[in-house]
């Protein structure tokens, strides 16, 4: 999940009877499975929450290029390098669709970028962890993209049209990303002793941060209840986390790797795996800018933006000159 801890109005969810006719019509349309489009009336809270959520998702795609970019220049074969490049290119593309979706809500890409660079807006906690070996490229695809897909597949049915449509396209590409990640893991897990060690080490380091991607339990959260009523959020964090664990544990077994959780056990009665919660204190530390790579990631984005200022200014100035010359010629 690339959007975490999205705050909503903070008030209890209104019943239909408490709403004025406009809001009621809006809610009834959502309840009936209809889509809200940019020109439709929407409550201010819905608009603001969506901007936060879509913006955070877009930022995650952008910052998410960095941990993978860390290995593009060290990819071990031409094919792996090409696949990784294609994946990172997709991610930048996802960022672009999502910023466009956010722009339909009346915010500009530059505004969102500024808020990312100043630290006011967040991106997914997961990208604040380092990628230390080549197996991490496998683990990121398998676990991180796997967790993202868990959240994004239901979001294809989200109530806001432009977001839902962006998600359809993104999901197709994400499932390719997850498969290539698993493919790297298979190669590593069935490789030399050193490769198996890298694979297990990557799983050890990425398991709990992946579980954190879904955010802490929000069963009793007012924000979550409102976002679910608006169909901005489709499942609780715990539901998605459970689904992720249930899907991933057999894959780890297939790879011959050990999930780093001594309490992991199939619960016959529940029909699900029991598993340990991640360290939520660490999660909040990461979210507050104290992740292992938080400073580097934000510095890298700021440096790219600052270093690129002359390019953006130059191209803009040229476009203006061209326009002026065209006008003068007419």
């Amino acid at each position: 999940m690339y959007a975490q801890m999205i705050k909503s109005t903070g008030k209890t969810v209104k019943s239909l009877d408490e709403m004025d006719p406009q809001e009621r019509a809006f809610q009834e349309r959502i309840d009936a499975g209809g889509k809200i489009e940019p020109r439709d009336w929407m409550p201010e809270g819905y608009r603001k929450t969506l901007i936060r959520q879509i913006g955070q998702h877009a930022h995650s795609e952008i910052v998410g290029q960095l941990p993978e970019g860390n290995w593009i220049t060290r990819a071990p074969t031409l094919e792996r390098k090409a696949i990784l490049l294609a994946k990172v290119q997709d991610e930048a593309g996802h960022g672009l669709y999502l910023y466009c979706a956010a722009e339909t809500l009346g915010v500009s890409r530059d505004d969102l970028t500024r808020d990312l660079l100043s630290g006011k807006m967040k991106y997914s906690s997961i990208f604040n962890y380092p990628t230390l070996t080549w197996a991490d490229m496998g683990a990121v695809g398998w676990l991180v993209d796997g967790a993202a897909i868990m959240n994004q597949v239901p979001l294809q049915r989200t109530s806001y049209g432009p977001y839902a449509r962006a998600m359809v396209r993104i999901c197709k590409e994400e499932s390719f990303h997850q498969r290539q990640g698993f493919d790297i893991m298979m190669k590593m897990a069935s490789g030399t002793e050193a490769q198996r060690k890298m694979a297990q080490d990557a799983l050890n380091r990425f398991w709990y941060p992946s579980l954190m991607m879904f955010g802490p339990s929000d069963e009793n959260s007012v924000h979550s209840a409102q976002n679910m009523a608006w169909k901005i959020k489709m499942n609780t964090n715990d539901e998605l986390r459970q689904k992720f664990v249930d899907q991933t544990v057999p894959q780890a077994e297939y790879l011959g790797l050990t999930v780093p959780d001594a309490h992991l056990k199939w619960n016959e009665e529940r029909g699900h795996y029991d598993f340990s919660e991640p360290d939520w204190e660490e999660f909040f530390d990461v979210l507050n800018g104290n992740g292992p790579c938080s400073k580097e990631r934000l510095e890298a984005r700021n440096k790219a933006w600052d270093d690129g200022a002359w390019v953006r200014d130059g191209l803009m100035a040229h476009a203006e000159k061209k326009k002026a010359r065209k006008l003068a010629a007419e």
């Binding site: 071990p76 930048a92 270093d307 191209l315």
Partner: protein
């Protein structure tokens, strides 16, 4: 002289490998998101072309080496790329000027190769040419936009041109390998492409309000492998590290 055909194929594949690597170094740090996408796309095309050229090189050599073996297990003195493409990225302007100069040559050379007497070569050239024409269009727009942009962008583009111009001459300096290939009709004589290059580049530089440097002094030693820059060794240290550190592994 080793087999001219093998030498030629390594030159083609090493150019795209080394430039593809350089371009990929930009990942996630371009001036705008659209450029991130375009740079990744350019690198991806170049790596794809590398695979085609170097696999064919391995086949021609007949010693069981494939593209990966050639890319990841040769040392600096075996690399046959042009001096230009191993130059560091510098700022975005320098990266795009390097791309523009290389693409301008690359498009002309590939166009000639589509007429190659060797069908394997003309097929790769045909495929690459489509991609490279797009790279050149994009690099041209960027060079013009930044050259004719602000005072700062103009100054940076002129500095990039001045810095990279001494690497242009090598692209057109023929040697025994080129002569042998031209005789067989395998590849065009690079010297004959110079006037087309000068004309096309000249037009773009004029529109970009940039001044072509007076001196046509040219560094040599890249494509013959006799004297690469210090930069290439560092690039290979990074690029080849996994293959070198774990020689028994497959990836």
């Amino acid at each position: 002289m080793s087999d001219p055909l093998f030498e030629f194929l390594c030159r083609m594949g090493d150019n795209t490998l080394v430039l593809g690597h350089r371009v990929s170094e930009w990942c996630g740090t371009a001036p705008v998101l659209e450029e991130d996408i375009a740079l990744a796309n350019t690198a991806l095309d170049l790596i794809g072309q590398t695979t085609l050229w170097l696999n064919l090189a391995g086949e021609v050599e007949g010693r069981g080496r494939d593209a990966d073996a050639l890319a990841f297990r040769r040392d600096v003195w075996d690399f046959r790329n042009l001096f230009l493409v191993e130059q560091p990225n510098g700022d975005f302007g320098q990266t795009m000027m390097r791309q523009f100069l290389f693409d301008s040559w690359h498009r002309l050379y590939l166009t000639g190769l589509t007429e190659s007497s060797d069908a394997r070569i003309s097929a790769i050239a045909e495929k690459s040419l489509k991609e490279v024409s797009y790279h050149l269009d994009r690099a041209t727009d960027t060079v013009i936009g930044l050259g004719d942009g602000t005072e700062e962008s103009h100054a940076r583009m002129q500095a990039a041109l001045d810095r990279l111009w001494p690497f242009v001459g090598e692209m057109f300096a023929g040697d025994a390998v080129d002569a042998a290939l031209a005789r067989q009709g395998t590849a065009p004589d690079p010297a004959k492409l110079r006037s087309g290059f000068d004309e096309q580049v000249g037009k773009v530089l004029a529109e970009a309000t940039l001044v072509r440097p007076d001196s046509d002094f040219a560094h040599k030693g890249g494509k013959t492998g006799t004297r690469h820059s210090e930069h290439l060794g560092h690039m290979l240290a990074q690029m080849q590290w996994l293959q070198r550190a774990y020689p028994d592994a497959t990836w």
